[in-house]
Amino acid sequence: MTRKTFGKLLGGVLFASVLSLSANAQLKLPQYTKTKLDNGVSVVLMPKNDVPLVTLMLLVKGGGESDPAQMAGLADITNDLLLRGTTNRTAEQLAAEIDFLGATIGTGSDTASNTVTLEVLSKDVTQGVEILADMARNANFDKDEVAKELARALDSAKSVKDNKQAALSRYATKFFYPQGHPYGVVADELTIGRIQRDNIVDYYQRMYVGSNATVIAVGAFDAKALQAAIAKSFGPMRKGQAYTWVKQGPIARKTAPSLLLVDDPQSTQTYFQIMQPGLDATSKDRVAVELVNTLFGGRFTSMLNDALRVNAGLTYGANSTVQERRLPGAVAISTFTATKTTVAAIDMALDVLKKLREKGIDEEQLASAKAYVKGGSPTKLLETNDQLAALLGGFEVTGQGREHIDSYFARIDAVTVADAKRVIDTYYRSDNLVFALLGQKSAIAAETAKYATSPVVVELSVPGVVINAAK
């Protein structure tokens, strides 16, 4: 049992280049190199002598946004199947080899990329590169393995509903984004059920190619030797074509408030999100929004948590998140409360939002947010090999580089109260909000109808994440 939903256990900073976090100090990304093999594979190396471990990451551009809408989950499942055997190693051999090294392997798929992350002891790094390259180049998608993986993915999608917060988040995503928007595509039993082996093989052949792949290494290694090992193992990868990013403008604010109610008759509490259009990862407003959001709903003493949890005891935690993706995403208030206090909690969240708009934030608050964000940045961004690899992978998607980190504190310092007011006016509005609720319809439908004129009601028990009504 922990006390907070905020700030998972964060640790210290590990590299010596950050000497101080006093007012004038800056963050500094450790040195790294980026080169390209002849076949287009990007190679990013960041040597960092700490514990004798190396994080190796294969990143393939595309991810969720490259899923066909009717087959959401295709990118993710294809990526997972890399662990299920190559033309050189069966799934079992691959697993045995990795486990014997004491290595860990994980796959990930977000809205813009697929990753395979292999963490090996430094002494095994060459073998690690060879294994990773084998998966990237020679996955064989054995028929039985594919059938098993698809069946497993179906069950996993189903069991998401046993975690109410995760379930709500899927419905909310689908409800918030307009039809056709790549971020509104949600993998569920229905979309996964349409995926065939041919789709997977086709996706793999198009996307897992040199021009679309990046190999990242962070940790204790000899850079020259590792570069040679990567060139040797990834050099033969087919060049292919780089993925073309989806083009999509900002999300238009709706013209009226809207509300989705996901009926879960046995739930003893209501989970809800209140969403509105936000900004993309590289927006010039990003840092000001980050500071405002820290004060509004991004830390334990935030306005939302202070009101709903600390003062009113309505919830274990209330927060606000700002999606940070390649394309503009959402700003979302999120919390949960006992069924009987549903309206009290929603009203209070709206009231906190209104107060933010009316009162803005003052110099003292802004200074506190700046100190908080700066104080936590090194541990949040740069502490471990995994974090650094993820950061370098993010650069591949957003086009950002070292400057993004090295000028981060200067950009934070430059934010003024007037900047904060401007971003509040833009991203923390009270009009035409999108509400998504999961809870007992019979107890909350009538009362919550006041938030939007024609609420959409769906049943949690219906298979898939299905929202039938036109938006």
Binding site: M1, L21, L314, Y372, G376
Partner: protein, 444 residues
């Protein structure tokens, strides 16, 4: 021939001997123990305060009070009033959290070196002079209720875990949930809280671990100034109840709204300092660590389960070795149970092959490195060794303890603890809305 194979395996074995963890130890006059791990790479510090008080120190009627108290420690003291602990720390660039277990309540602070003295001042304030105002008690009670609804009532896993534990233990306090029974959450009185504070939050009942950009001198100067004047108290009374030896399998069924069934298997095992603990760690790795593990291959890859994982957890009193299995759609819980128990039987009946045993050890030793990645992990690691293993210095004996585990040990320990008589099996059976309204139970 055999000798050559073993030699080859020895070459492949992972060694973490180079990674010893250095700790300076002091005991203040009031009995508070201070452990310091210096790491000057960066200007950050973590401070973990381990109070040896958890739900095992509770009584029926006041279950959950340790966890509730953990929440109350943030609600204002003499110098730093309500909300100030968080407001002041966040403004100084730091953050904090806390967690409660069956054995411990741990406060965790993460901050820039510049906030070191502030941290000592704030921690001393709340250890010495916490204020328990009725309004705060009332509002925090609701927060804990909300946490219970989130983690237990609306979570299939939380519900199954709570119910299976309640059956696995018949006498010892490990039988009740850390968060407390719902009726007890309603009942705590201010008097009980005050008593609990005095008892549990004595400096002589606390180990402080400071890890990061500090020097021993710096820390000890502040510790003497801020922590040493805190008066010592009588520590919590010893937990007298010893769980009687289990003399036959126990079973519990829980009906709950869920998409898929869930199973929990629990066996009683000794407290952490026991010599069999490293063997149980190896057993857990053999069964379920990585995709080449026995349960992954048999159950996950074999399409019986979405997940099948086993392991123990550190405990002051005799604890549990637990397996959690999530059967796949269409797989009867009886089928997945049979598969799990057959795999356990194999560990009892047959010696583990040398290469597989070395694999499990390699995995555990590589995990050990992973624990050392951050100063926060190191602080937690050092503190856990101090309170559970009988001394932080045992951290540096970890490799040897794992390497010493033999195939005979694995078989012996599996035979000794993973028995039918010593087992409790919990099964969560998904039910739909309609089934619940019929309230039919098992009477068919």
């Amino acid at each position: 021939m055999a000798i050559r194979i073993l030699a080859a395996l020895a070459l492949l074995a992972i060694s973490c001997a180079a990674q010893t963890v250095a700790v300076k130890q002091h005991v203040l006059d009031n009995g508070m123990k201070i452990l310091i791990h210096e790491d000057h790479d960066v200007p950050n510090v973590v401070m973990y305060l381990f109070f040896k008080v958890g739900s095992r120190n509770e009584q029926p009627g006041t279950t959950g009070i340790s966890h509730f108290f953990e929440h109350m420690m943030f609600n204002g003291a003499k110098k730093y009033g309500p909300k100030q602990f968080d407001i002041v720390l966040e403004k100084a660039g730091g953050r904090n959290n806390a967690y409660t277990t069956r054995d411990l309540t741990v406060y965790t602070d993460f901050f820039p070196t510049s906030a070191l003295e502030l941290m000592f001042d704030m921690e001393a304030d709340r250890i010495t002079d916490l204020s328990l105002t009725p309004g705060m008690v009332l509002s925090e009670r609701e927060v804990v209720y909300s946490e219970r609804r989130l983690r237990v009532d609306n979570s299939p896993f939380g519900t199954l875990y709570e119910q299976t534990n309640a059956v696995a233990y018949t006498a010892h306090p490990y039988q009740w949930p850390v968060i407390g029974w719902a009726s007890d959450i309603e009942g705590w009185t201010r008097g009980e809280l005050e008593h609990y504070y005095k008892m549990g939050y004595a400096p002589n009942n606390c180990t402080v671990v400071v890890s990061g950009d500090v020097t021993e001198e710096q820390v000890m100067k502040l510790a003497k100034q801020h922590f040493e004047p805190i008066p010592k108290q009588d520590p919590p009374p010893p937990v007298r109840t010893v769980e009687p030896v289990q003399a036959g399998e126990r079973r519990v069924k829980v009906y709950h709204q869920a998409q898929l069934p869930l199973q929990m298997f629990s066996w009683h095992v000794p407290a952490t300092p026991d010599a069999d603990t490293p063997v149980l760690e190896v057993l857990g790795a053999l069964l379920s660590q990585g995709r080449s593990s026995r349960l992954y291959r048999r159950m996950v890859d074999g399409e019986l389960a979405l997940q099948a994982e086993c392991g123990g957890e550190e405990s002051i009193d005799p604890g549990q070795f637990i397996c959690i299995v999530a059967p796949r759609t269409g797989v009867e819980p009886e089928t997945s149970e049979r598969a799990l128990l057959e795999e356990i039987e194999k560990l009892r009946a047959d010696a583990t092959p040398a290469k597989e045993l070395q694999k499990a050890k390699n995995q555990l030793l590589a995990d050990y490195y992973r624990e050392l990645k951050t100063i926060a992990n190191k602080a937690n690691f050092i503190g856990n060794y101090e309170v559970f293993h009988g001394g932080w210095e045992k951290v540096n004996g970890y490799e040897a303890s794992i390497q010493a585990v033999s195939a005979e040990d694995v078989q012996r320990v599996a035979k000794k603890y993973l028995t039918e008589r010593n087992r409790t099996v919990g099964t969560l059976i998904p039910e739909t809305e309609q089934e619940e309204s019929q309230q039919g139970g098992e009477g068919k």
